[in-house]
Amino acid sequence: MADYSQFNPAWGDRAPVIIGFLCNWCSYRAADLAGTSRFGYPATLRDIRIMCTGRLDPTFVVKALREGADGVLVMGCHPGQCHYEEGNYKAMRRIALLQRTLAQLGVHPDRVQLAWASAAQGGIFTETVKEMTEKVARLGPMQWRDNLEETAPHQEEGVPL
């Protein structure tokens, strides 16, 4: 297992867990291509296939964070390349709003990210997971559920208010 305590001692021997929402047409296939090409990346991402990032109900993201994920990565087709014309634009709006809402709840926007990869971009997919993992690793474990109980409002460092 990779040692994530080098990024943030709070990890101990744990590793970050990131829930991924990948669209069926571009990013899921990019992930498949990364596999076929044996492009290694950290085993932090656990992904869910949805037909389009337009299907991404913001409550999915909140649910994932609440259930113990340290981050959520949403990946779709490049803008203008959506299999359903414009679902990724909807996702873009929703994620932007969600990041702001979550920031007000003390969640760092780096924990919820939106990125693009076409079906041919296994390399970009791999790099995105690596970068996201490192960002989340620096932030440390999320433990939102445990923190919810604290009397003082939870506030991560560097969260824009």
Binding site: M1, A2, A15, V17, I19, W25, C26, Y28, R29, A31, D32, A34, G35, T36, R38, F39, G40, Y41, P42, A43, R46, D47, I48, R49, I50, M51, C52, G54, R55, L56, D57, P58, T59, F60, K63, A64, R66, E67, G68, A69, G80, Q81, H83, Y84, E85, E86, G87, K90, R94, S118, A119, A120, Q121, T126, R145, D146, L148, E149
Partner: protein, 673 residues
């Protein structure tokens, strides 16, 4: 707790999964999950034995859900859905857990982590499977007409094969004539067949086939629908010629006073008139008026063509026409663009007169080309005594395109032969590697070696007219490192031919988007599987052939064209298609009629039923993206197969190991009302 009985099957995939993920441990672990009745691991789940195991367990153990943890659902989901169906289970109750592409293959350096991740993926799949509902695929009849886009050699062959089998084909071509790049060529390698002699009979057949409707000078503007039932809007650009009257006699272009450089067919080496037919064997035979260079359209005077047309076919006021057609399948054979040699300034194209591109040379050496087939310098009269051919211009180069364009080595050999045959000049080939794969190509290379063509192994660094050494004055000097002898060489020549790369069409990504298919990083259309499904795309009913899919030569383009025909005919033969029932559905009883979903749908599939005050999804138009599902404030739109509950459960399953073991906080679930 749910009553469902789940069977979990962990595939070894030989060593592909088992080499990284501890499959025995995973399957034993999966057996302990709630609702899991059977958990097994097996060497190859996709084998007939693996499938039979699933079928038997469904029957004997009464499984109501099946999870196979193996490869990507894009690989074997249909396989296992089939197995479930054979055993009497609804195929949509099957769930695939992708532990190969998304785990074993990408975490080879961290086997314990890969094993743990595989468990999480399976846990997610099991939880999701419990929420799946039985579905029935939609069935729709297949429209037997096929649209072929692009009238090059690939599209022509696709059209002829389908038409030959007795079905209607609509062939759309952007240029005034079909023929594509092959029509520009003089000879074809390695046999030195005359390109026109083998192409024009096929073009003629297209023009004469009762089953092929040819729309030249036309472009597809919009594509709607799905496999079997596409609706396509095509713009027929105004030819300004009444084709019912035109006989193709040629009086108009012989009289036309406007001369312009022909950048398309003559590759900029020759001229055409404003009213023109690209080449004598053009199909159809009718000319077009290029309104941008026509004197009448520029300043309102001239009309020479109209005066001399014996049948009165010139129609200056003709407008573009938009036709809407229904087709069942679509073949894209939109071809390639040639690399713009100006992008490598060191080779001097556009600056040094006697540097030519390979397409220019094709036209020059063509008997019907601007020089009547004479190989001459830019002055139009002097035959070269020495010629350099530079390979890989815009190919195999990090600065331009990293891929190999596949055909240029052989085309360069063809040119070397033609130059020698026509001028007896000395020919120097500057190559990186000679790539003469495929039948009889190597023999042609050997023949060229014996003919005395010089081969210098080394990428040319520059072409210059700055003479430094005796004998270089007035010449073009090609500088290159000869890597076989390890020395820099300067070769003075009279003419340089740049073997330019094949590139995706400039508008390839736009076209891909229009048809709902993908492009590779380089920009070529993406096939469904690079090895086993090379002409299908991710979108059912849309096939690709020829160089729009990647650089290839004529035999390969023809093969792909014919392959797409086989695929199309296969679908037509079936008579109907099954369409994934992934659709949105509105619970009208609970719809508040807010109409937020109405405008979100990119396909206008949601109608507002005014008398009931609710919205309704038209399943024929819905493509199942789920955008409306996510947006419904009342959460009354169900995204079939990707329901709210199925995704929520999958999240819980995926996070089984990090969810708080003891609930410290009472979580108020926001269930849909």
């Amino acid at each position: 707790m749910s009553e469902e009985k789940v069977g979990v099957y962990v595939c070894h995939c030989g060593h592909n999964i088992a080499g990284t993920v501890n499959v025995e441990e995973v399957s034993e672990w999966a057996g302990q999950l709630p609702n899991v009745a059977v958990a097994k691991d097996y060497k190859f789940m996709c084998s007939s034995l693996g499938q039979e195991m699933v079928e038997e367990d469904i029957k004997k153990e009464g499984l109501t859900r099946v999870v196979v943890a193996a490869c990507s659902p894009h690989m074997h989901e249909p396989t296992f859905r089939g197995a479930c169906q054979r055993a009497g289970m609804n195929p949509y109750l099957f769930e695939m857990a992708n532990i190969r592409e998304h785990a074993s293959w990408v975490h080879q350096d961290d086997k314990p982590a890969a094993t743990e991740k595989a468990k999480a993926i399976i846990s997610g799949a099991v939880r999701r499977s419990l929420e799946l509902a039985p579905l029935e695929p939609f069935r729709a009849p297949i429209n037997k007409t096929t649209l072929v886009v692009g009238g090059g050699i690939a599209g022509i062959n696709a059209a002829l094969e389908i038409a030959g089998a007795g079905y209607k084909v609509l062939l759309v071509e952007r240029e005034p004539s079909i023929g594509g790049h092959m029509a520009q060529f003089d000879k074809t390698f390695p046999t030195l067949d005359c390109a026109a002699c083998i192409l024009t009979p096929k073009m003629f057949d297209v023009g004469n086939s009762p089953n092929i409707e040819l729309l030249t000078y036309s472009e597809v503007e919009q594509v709607d629908g799905y496999v079997g039932n596409f609706t396509v809007r095509i713009r027929k650009r105004a030819r300004k010629i009444d084709t019912t009257l035109c006989t193709g006699c040629g009086d108009c272009w012989e009289r036309c006073p406007a001369k312009v450089i022909d950048d398309v067919y003559e590759s900029g080496l020759g001229y055409r008139t404003a009213v023109y037919r690209p080449f004598p064997q053009a199909v159809p035979k009718y000319p077009v008026i290029d309104t941008e260079s026509c004197i009448y359209f520029k300043n309102g005077r001239c009309k020479a063509c109209e005066k001399f047309c014996p049948t009165g076919a010139i129609k200056f006021d003709q407008e573009d026409e938009v036709v809407v057609v229904n087709v069942g399948n679509i073949v894209l054979a939109t071809g390639y663009d040639v690399f713009d040699a100006r992008r490598i300034p060191a080779y001097g194209y556009g600056r040094l007169a006697n540097v030519f591109t390979s397409m220019e040379f094709e036209r020059m050496t063509n008997a019907s080309g601007p020089t009547d087939g004479k190989v001459v310098l830019r002055d139009g009269v002097t035959a070269p005594e020495t010629v350099a051919i530079i390979h890989c211009v815009g190919s195999r180069d990090k600065n331009t395109n990293v891929y190999c364009s596949a055909t240029c080595c052989m085309a360069a050999l063809k040119f070397a032969h033609l130059v020698k045959e026509k001028t007896n000049a000395q020919v120097y080939n500057f190559y990186i590697d000679m790539r003469t794969a495929f039948k009889d190509y190597e023999l042609f290379y050997t023949r060229l070696l014996e003919e005395g063509t010089h081969f210098i192994r080394g990428r040319a660094a520059e072409v210059t007219d700055a003479a430094r050494l005796p004998g270089e004055e007035g010449k073009l000097i090609v500088q290159a490192e000869d890597t076989l002898i390890g020395k820099q060489r300067r070769v003075p020549v009279d003419m340089v031919i740049l073997m330019v790369a094949m590139e995706p069409r400039a508008d390839a990504s736009e076209v891909a988007h229009r048809f709902g298919i993908g492009c590779s990083d380089a920009g070529f259309f993406t096939e469904r599987h690079p090895k086993l499904d090379p002409v299908a795309t991710m979108t059912e009913g849309i096939f690709i052939a020829g160089t729009c899919q990647g650089p290839k030569d004529i035999p390969a383009s023809v093969s792909q064209g014919e392959a797409t025909a086989a695929r199309v005919l296969g679908l037509i033969g079936k008579g109907e298609v099954q369409i994934e029932p992934v659709r949105a559905q509105i619970d009208e009883d609970r719809c508040s009629g807010c109409r937020i979903c109405n405008n979100l749908c990119p396909y206008n599939a949601i109608d507002f039923i005014a008398e009931k005050g609710v919205s309704r999804v038209n399943p024929a138009q819905c493509k199942g993206c789920g955008t409306c599902v996510a947006a419904c404030p009342s959460q009354v739109i169900t995204g079939q197969h990707y329901t709210y509950d199925s995704i929520m459960s999958q999240i819980e399953g995926l996070l089984y190991d990090v969810r708080s073991p003891n609930e410290k906080v009472r979580v108020v679930e926001m269930e849909p009302a």
